[in-house]
């Protein structure tokens, strides 16, 4: 087990290097160069040269690359051009709020998606199955900001059940915090539900025709226990894979959701960096997203062994 974990962590290193290289190349794609983009057209030659030196842009590209990798590996993501604070501290400031949103929506997705998927598989081609499939397809078709805006209009503005501006201060009682979280979490949770439901249904359909299910039924195992301990347990691997893979999309969608529901978080930070042309902050955020994706993928791989003892850690 330990050696598997170590090997899996070592595998993440080349992945991280590829991502960092891609981000490095991407930032160099800025038309003109970063210094003139940051300072605008009116900047004097002297201030341009000063900024180029500060950003290391006067160095040859391969030295810039090595310096970039070196800094990232030592945890130095640079300073935000607009606020002057380090990228890390900017991120740490808003990270709890994004994590809160992400965890809540994954929880909603699992709580709604698993039973729905099981029900659809059990009533295959019946009306429950049909409705669940159509609903999940609609859920998958919603771009996160579209469903977010529609929910905002209906539940917050027309019905007035939820605050329109969200919890911008980050303070307030637990109930108030929960009310502010409800709509954004539901917005992402519904999309998550659609994914989980779809894969649960497909996995359950595959498992339910297996011989050992028939054997269990013949032995007199009740329908509830049959589904939960026999069928569902063996469907968990594809479900975990989907939840893991979806995590990246979830981060992307949370950007849009945070903007719409006016929540503090990584999404609002990205939008602010875009509007302020804060390229170091943008670059730092991309690196952090890349690391998040790699960590989740690695954890997903490790989770396989926990649910399925047949997966060998070798």
């Amino acid at each position: 087990m330990t050696s598997f974990v170590i090997r899996r962590l070592l595998l993440a290193i080349p992945t991280l290097l590829v991502m960092l290289t891609a981000i490095f190349v991407l930032v160099r794609l800025v038309p003109g160069d970063a210094a003139s983009v940051i300072l605008g057209d009116q900047a004097s030659a002297a201030s341009l040269a000063a900024l180029r030196e500060k950003l290391g842009l006067d160095q040859p590209v391969h030295l810039q690359y090595l310096a970039f990798i070196g800094k990232v590996l030592t945890g130095d993501l640079g300073q935000s051009l607009s606020s002057g604070r380090t990228v890390i501290s900017e991120v740490l400031l808003v990270l709890p709020s994004t994590i809160e949103l992400t965890v809540a929506s994954v929880a909603i997705g699992l709580v709604l998606g698993l039973p729905l998927g099981v029900a659809a598989a059990l009533s295959r081609n019946g009306w429950v199955d049909y409705v669940a499939r159509v609903v999940s397809l609609v859920g998958l078709s919603f771009p996160a900001f579209v469903s977010g805006i529609l929910m905002l209009i209906v539940f917050a503005i027309q019905l007035g059940w939820f605050p329109v501006l969200g919890n911008t201060s980050g303070s307030g009682g637990l109930a108030e915090r929960f009310r502010a979280l409800a709509l954004p979490a539901l917005n992402l949770g519904i999309i998550m539900t659609a994914y989980v439901m779809r894969v649960t249904r497909a996995a359950m359909l595959g498992v339910l025709t297996e011989d050992y299910i028939r054997t269990a039924r013949a032995k007199g195992v009740g329908p509830g226990q049959l589904v939960v301990t026999h069928a569902l347990r063996n469907s968990l691997i594809p479900i975990i894979t989907v939840v893991g893979l979806y995590f990246g999309t979830l981060i992307g969608n949370s950007v849009l959701t945070e903007i719409i529901f006016n929540r503090p978080g990584l999404g609002k930070l990205i939008l602010g960096a875009l509007n302020a042309r804060d390229y170091t902050l943008l670059q730092g955020l991309m690196i952090i997203f890349a690391i998040c994706v790699i960590v989740v993928n690695t954890l997903t791989d490790m989770a396989y062994g926990l649910v399925d003892p047949r997966v060998k850690y070798s």
Binding site: T15, L137, S141, I153, A202
Partner: protein, 289 residues
């Protein structure tokens, strides 16, 4: 050679058509998509007003007999902008997917045919690209290049290259060992002739079937980037951009955001229904389910 049978798609019109025509949802998707494409093509004849014409007297008018879907903050007709917006969404989506298909398929076939270390490196890099959230990748590229039609297309195309390469690679690996490929090699065909004349036609249907689903994803990304402000710059009418403007007036003019939202939803849903049906029809395993 039985592995080939499971990857090769039955593209004889009869087989695919039969499976497709029995799927009610596929018909809904097809009709919906055809309607949207027709609206985009005939936009100048269908739109009641000029989508860019401002009318300060009629600002933020709710839906009425005169303006069916209301007017925006500049007094522009929402219905006309919606109709013209279909052109940009579909155009950007189609062109981006076409570019991604050309590049991605070429990479996939090349990696699958050459194999070895080259294959491992190329697919390793693409897997990393695949793991990165589509929206964030597109956002990053569009932000770095600047907001314009060309850059938007490039950004979306890049996000969709990796899936095409994956789908093109798998059948290439099985096809390159087939007897007819071996035969053409012994006749003296060069590798590029084999790849393009012998392997490509045999796996193209896999790629085409998937492209409908990825077109849905491309259109979703386009709308999202336009909403963030990285799409085709104003005053052009784009669905994502209209929602962005509607969002700024969300407290007193709900119609600005709602109608373009429904248009995006309908387009993506139509493509997903169609793509699902095509995939099911071409895959006997999922058809049985």
């Amino acid at each position: 050679m039985s592995a080939v049978a499971s990857t090769a798609v039955d593209i004889r019109p009869g087989g695919l058509w039969l499976a497709f025509s029995q799927n009610r949802l596929a018909w809904i998707g097809l009709v919906l998509l055809a309607l949207i494409v027709l609206v985009a093509i005939f936009a100048p004849w269908l739109a009641p007003y000029d989508p860019l014409e401002q009318n300060i007297v009629a600002r933020l008018e709710p839906p009425s007999a005169e303006f069916w879907l209301g007017t925006d903050a500049y007094g522009r007709d929402v219905l006309s902008r919606l109709i013209y917006g279909a052109r940009i969404s579909l155009f950007v989506g189609f062109v981006a997917i076409l570019i991604a298909m050309l590049i991605g398929t070429a990479i996939g076939v090349l990696a699958g045919y050459v194999g070895g270390l080259f294959d491992q490196i190329v697919m390793g890099v693409l897997d990393v690209l695949l793991a990165f959230p589509t929206l964030l990748l597109g956002l990053m590229i569009a932000a770095m290049l600047g907001a314009s039609l060309d850059n938007l297309i490039i950004a979306i195309a890049v996000t969709e290259i990796a899936p095409f390469a994956r789908v093109a690679r798998a059948p290439t690996i099985t096809l390159r060992q087939r007897d007819f490929v071996e035969a053409s090699r012994s006749y003296g065909c060069g590798p590029f002739r084999i790849m393009f004349r012998h392997i490509l036609p045999n796996m193209l249907s896999d790629v085409v079937v998937m492209s409908s689903l990825w077109l849905a994803s491309a259109i979703r990304t386009e709308a999202s980037l336009s909403f963030i402000g990285l799409g085709v710059p104003p005053p052009a009418a784009t669905w994502g951009g209209m929602i962005r403007e509607g969002f700024e007036n969300i407290l007193d003019a709900w119609w600005l955001a709602v109608f373009p939202s429904l248009a995006i939803l309908a387009t993506v849903l139509a493509l997903n229904l169609l793509g699902d049906a095509l995939r099911d029809a071409s895959d006997p395993k999922s058809r049985a389910r």
